[in-house]
């Protein structure tokens, strides 16, 4: 299990390695900052989707141990979101705070993206065993925020693209599939209770 975990951990870092190699070797195209922003954004959404598919995969496959990866995967989504935001602040906006405030207040796609990041923070903080114990049942309630966050992330991407919505559409489809699974499960549970 330990080896398995470190493999997943290493694999999750490959995109960073790729971007660093690309940056050093000048392989990120004519607009490297834009490439860095887009790729880290893409990986944030991807890790959110992977995290959200842990439960469905577990239920469908009865492979219970997979749950052990969920925290790590969720934290990687947070990690890529932080990278994405740091690149935006430092490289794209170069810490021009006036512009950043204007972006946050005037541009809906940035507002919603930032909101999603802010909501991720309490989830990352409370991901430790201590917090899970401390919060008890409330922990699960709090962590349902991830559904809102993932939706906000996809909307952020959707509102940003100029015309070709293929990629945000793919994320939206995956997300709705994952949500449908949960709703279906909920319905079955409710019916069971009623009987």
């Amino acid at each position: 299990m330990k080896i398995f975990k470190s493999t997943v951990f290493t694999a999750a870092l490959l995109p960073v390695a790729y971007l660093i190699f690309g940056l050093v070797g000048d392989k990120l195209g004519a607009n490297p900052i834009e490439t860095l922003l887009h790729k880290t954004g893409f990986w944030t959404l991807t890790f959110l989707m992977i995290t959200l598919s842990v439960s469905p995969v577990r239920k469908l496959s009865n492979w219970n141990k997979i749950i052990k990866f969920r925290r790590m995967l969720g934290l990687f989504a947070f990690f890529y979101a932080c990278l994405h935001f740091t690149i935006y602040l430092g490289l794209d906006r170069q810490f021009e705070w006036q512009e950043i405030v204007e972006d946050l207040s005037k541009r809906p796609y940035i507002t919603i993206g930032f909101t999603a990041l802010v909501m991720l923070v309490p989830l990352a903080i409370t991901s430790t065993k201590g917090w899970i114990r401390k919060l008890g049942k409330r922990w699960q309630k709090l962590h349902r925020l991830i559904y809102v966050i993932a939706t906000a992330g996809v909307v952020h991407f959707w509102w940003l693209v100029k015309k070709d919505i293929t990629e945000p559409l793919i994320f939206a489809l995956i997300l709705s599939l994952l949500m449908t699974f949960r709703l279906a499960l909920l319905k079955i549970k409710l019916q069971a209770i009623q009987k």
Binding site: T10, L14, A17, Y18, F21, G22, G25, K27, L28, G29, A30, N31, I33, E34, L91, Q94, E99, E102, D103, R107, Y109, W159, L160, K162, K163, D164, T166
Partner: protein, 317 residues
């Protein structure tokens, strides 16, 4: 001062030499794996070799050229917005080889006494080619400096002798999904259309470009002939033109049809009028890290400002 002593345990006791070497090997292999991934992926940002393109003869310099440092051939030919070949910046360099830019006819028609069809080769042969090093400002807030080779549009339009009914000029890109695979998608309406007011078309800055860095235009940059209007956002500079028509009414332009609240007919570079989704105050000059202030009319106010003294630039963005 407190100086900590070592734990006294030899590092070789914690990690055996065998394991240590294994770890090294692991790092080496994984680095190699990542490295090859990067190299493979680098084809994504296709490289185009400058020497493959024929040199154009008899080019004279122009006083309209800027002294700003030009972007590299590689940047100019691998970072393009040309949806006819795909919607990402790297797509055109990868896909534009399917375009056949030779032979190419361009038709000049509409309200004029002398309409006609011209072979682009003849246009190149019969007109004085000029190098125009222009700034290009994209509506997406990045910019480049590009050494175009071209002919003033006025030279070509004058020969057609437009009549007094000619108030605007409409430009049309080739419609040929077999050569332009992006036209199979409905992301924009095809063919791509653009337009200029008559005085804008006749302005000495406006050129029909046929080359880049002294060589024929690569397909991803709009071969064999494209418009360059340096004081307007890049999308006005329509590529791979097959028809120029003198018209009475303001023609439609593709991006305006696609998102009227975001892209206007005039599309003059203007730091004072934001795009609804981003600021236009600054731009990233590709190849440099820091951002620079965007200038009104992309720094060409002296040459073009007089045409807009009576125009509300906020309303007519």
């Amino acid at each position: 001062m407190l100086i900590k002593k070592g734990s006294g345990i030899k590092s070789s006791l914690i990690t055996s030499q065998k394991q240590y070497l294994k770890r090294r090997q692991f790092i080496k292999y994984s680095l190699a794996a990542v490295g090859s991934l990067v190299l493979d992926k680098s084809q994504l940002f296709a490289e185009t070799s400058e020497s493959e393109y024929a040199k154009l003869p008899n080019i004279i310099p122009s006083s309209y050229s800027t002294n700003d440092k030009t972007n590299s051939w590689e940047h100019i030919t691998t970072y393009n917005n040309f949806y006819e070949f795909g919607t990402s910046k790297e797509d055109p360099a990868e896909n534009a080889h399917s375009l056949n830019p030779k032979p190419w006819k361009i038709s000049i028609e509409g309200h004029c006494k002398n309409p006609g069809e011209y072979d682009v080769d003849d246009l190149v042969k019969n007109n004085q080619l000029e190098e125009r090093v222009y700034r290009l400002r994209c509506v997406e807030a990045w910019s480049m400096v590009i050494p175009w080779v071209g002919i003033p549009l006025k030279t070509v339009l004058d020969r057609a002798e437009p009549t007094s009914k000619a108030q605007f000029v409409e430009f049309v890109t080739l419609l040929e999904p077999k050569q332009m695979q992006g036209q199979n998608s409905s992301v924009l309406q095809w063919p791509y259309l653009e337009g200029l007011r008559m005085d804008e078309a006749m302005n000495p800055l406006t050129i029909l470009a046929v080359g880049l860095y002294g060589r024929v235009l690569p397909s991803q940059n709009g071969a064999p002939i494209r418009l360059v209007v340096p004081w307007k956002y890049g999308f006005k500079s329509i590529k791979s033109i097959v028809r120029i028509r003198f018209v009475e009414k303001m023609p439609v332009n593709t991006w305006n049809v696609s998102a009227p609240a975001e892209y206007g007919f005039y599309a003059n570079v203007n730091p004072g009028v934001d795009h609804p989704r981003w600021s236009q105050k600054k731009e990233r000059r590709l190849g440099s890290f820091s951002k620079k202030e965007t200038l009104l009319f992309n720094g060409y106010a002296e040459q073009v400002g007089h045409m807009y003294t009576d125009l509300d630039l906020k309303k007519w963005f």
